[in-house]
Symmetry: C2
Subunit: 302 residues, 2 copies
């Protein structure tokens, strides 16, 4: 890794941090994909994995940025967590490929979705390889115990199931509790893993790992709620998705509220509670940067 990690130490705001982190993360992702085994008779899987990871610029890399940001808060050397940060993004990319197949979406980040470009059959293989590689990398590099990784991955899939099935749920099931379940699975699980990964390989007790997982998970839930709000109110150019598409049938954050103002209030309440949780878990100066990050997430416009 020749990239200068000082830019992470020097960043003054979380947004500057995320911007500075992006090329570093992209470089780590390139390295991770280049490490996939290559075979003369089967070279498409790596190519598809690379495409899925980088098409449309690859997005903001918010999950790996959260790992690096947590590392800064915890005093973990960035070098220790950069591969884990990339590993979580590989698993996230796996979920994007499967999502687009499940939803029949032909576009992702403004470019052809992976299955639209390479077909469903090979895309399924590349997706699994990203999942396998991400999980392997995490187990190699991290102190997160294997049983916790297993739990997180199962939760991710359970959230995805509920998200899919929510289109057929009766009104009685369309509650804040069920939405919490969906968000904590489909978004919270990987945000939680990202945050917990920021601890690195330093000797950390399981309670600390779980505490950071919970904080990251809740950050993910707030992130997803803001996403739903932006999608309901924004334009397709800002979020990259057709406006109101998800809203039609799936249970979304917005569908729980009468209007945008009450939805925004609910997000603010969660943010306040989460800030208290962060301060308790990371006493002293550590909490500050993570709280600013949360505020930036809540106030983002895309």
């Amino acid at each position: 890794m020749n990239l200068d990690l000082d830019v992470l130490r020097q960043a003054k705001t979380p947004l500057e941090f995320i911007g500075n982190a992006k090329p570093i993360i992209d470089s780590a992702l390139s390295t991770a994909i280049a490490r996939l085994p290559t075979y003369a008779a089967a070279e498409q899987i790596s190519n598809i994995a690379r495409y899925a990871t980088f098409a449309g610029g690859g997005g903001k890399r918010i999950r790996p940025a959260l790992t690096l940001l947590t590392a800064r808060c915890c005093g973990t050397p960035f070098e220790d967590v950069i591969e884990s940060a990339a590993a979580v993004e590989l698993i996230h990319t796996y979920t994007l490929i499967i999502d687009d197949i499940q939803d029949g979406d032909e576009l992702r980040r403004g470019e052809p979705a992976t299955h639209s470009k390479f077909g469903v059959n090979l895309s399924l293989l590349a997706a699994s390889v990203l999942l396998i590689e991400g999980a392997s990398l995490l187990q190699e590099k991290l102190r997160i115990p294997p049983f916790l990784l297993r739990e997180i991955l199962h939760k991710l899939h359970a959230g995805q199931e509920a998200d899919i099935e929510s289109t057929t749920w009766p009104t009685s099931n369309r509650t804040e509790g069920s939405l919490q379940f969906i968000f904590s699975g489909k978004t919270g699980a990987l945000f939680g893993l990202s945050c917990a990964s920021g601890l690195g390989t330093q000797d950390s007790d399981e309670e600390m790992v779980r505490g950071l997982f919970d904080i990251g998970s809740e950050i993910g839930i707030v992130f997803q709620a803001v996403d739903d709000l932006l999608e309901a109110t924004g334009d397709s150019g800002q979020t990259g998705k057709p406006v109101g598409k998800d809203r039609a049938q799936k249970l979304t954050f917005m569908s729980l509220f009468a209007d945008q103002a009450s939805a925004r209030e609910a997000i603010q309440r969660r943010r306040v509670a989460l800030e208290a949780n962060i301060r308790e878990r990371l006493p002293g100066e550590g909490a500050g940067f993570l709280i600013e990050f949360l505020e930036a997430l809540v106030h983002r416009s895309r």
Copy 2:
């Protein structure tokens, strides 16, 4: 586990052993699936995983039987490897779900394929959960190093890619070498894992793990070659698949030979070489039962 493992010790032939092993393996598989986390808002994944594992009677359970059989050859207590045996079958079941989606097959073991019964979207989630659970169980229970498991899983997917792409390969690519690559991935990888899993948790060096992996992998290749031969000559009632379906486009073992006699000869040559390999790796009485198993595989009629 209340089942009597003595029936495994008492079996006099590999076929009797496989028959006796089946209810023991099925019980271990039930236990493994029952251990999947359950969620009120997402209960289909476990149900689908169970269906995929047991529909149509669940097949012969040849991979987990190979683990138990190797355990007998190596003197490993069956109790030590029964969960690993089940874990490999979970991963195998993952591949069956994906295979049927990729091939558009509506039937598996005479019953609706998983995606035909539950739809593609939820079946994809259940498939991933089986892969995750199988890999987690193996890492929890075995001495197979994580990097080797990673290597095996990547190989499995590479073989699957080549298998899919072989339909469009020019004649110059349709060689014994490419077929070897396909078989060693799509069949050899999990057979190798099964065989290596028979070592259990006893302190075994990596060379021994790799040696058993190679033997299992080669057993898988021979198994797949016989499968191709049976499919080209048998009837659909015996193999459970439409006759000649695979042969039409994919590169198969039979397509390399002018007639069945030369295909059978090639299988015999591989069997002889493999027997020598087994005797070298497992000196003394250990080799005998594995060699009988191989012979039963070669001479099977379904």
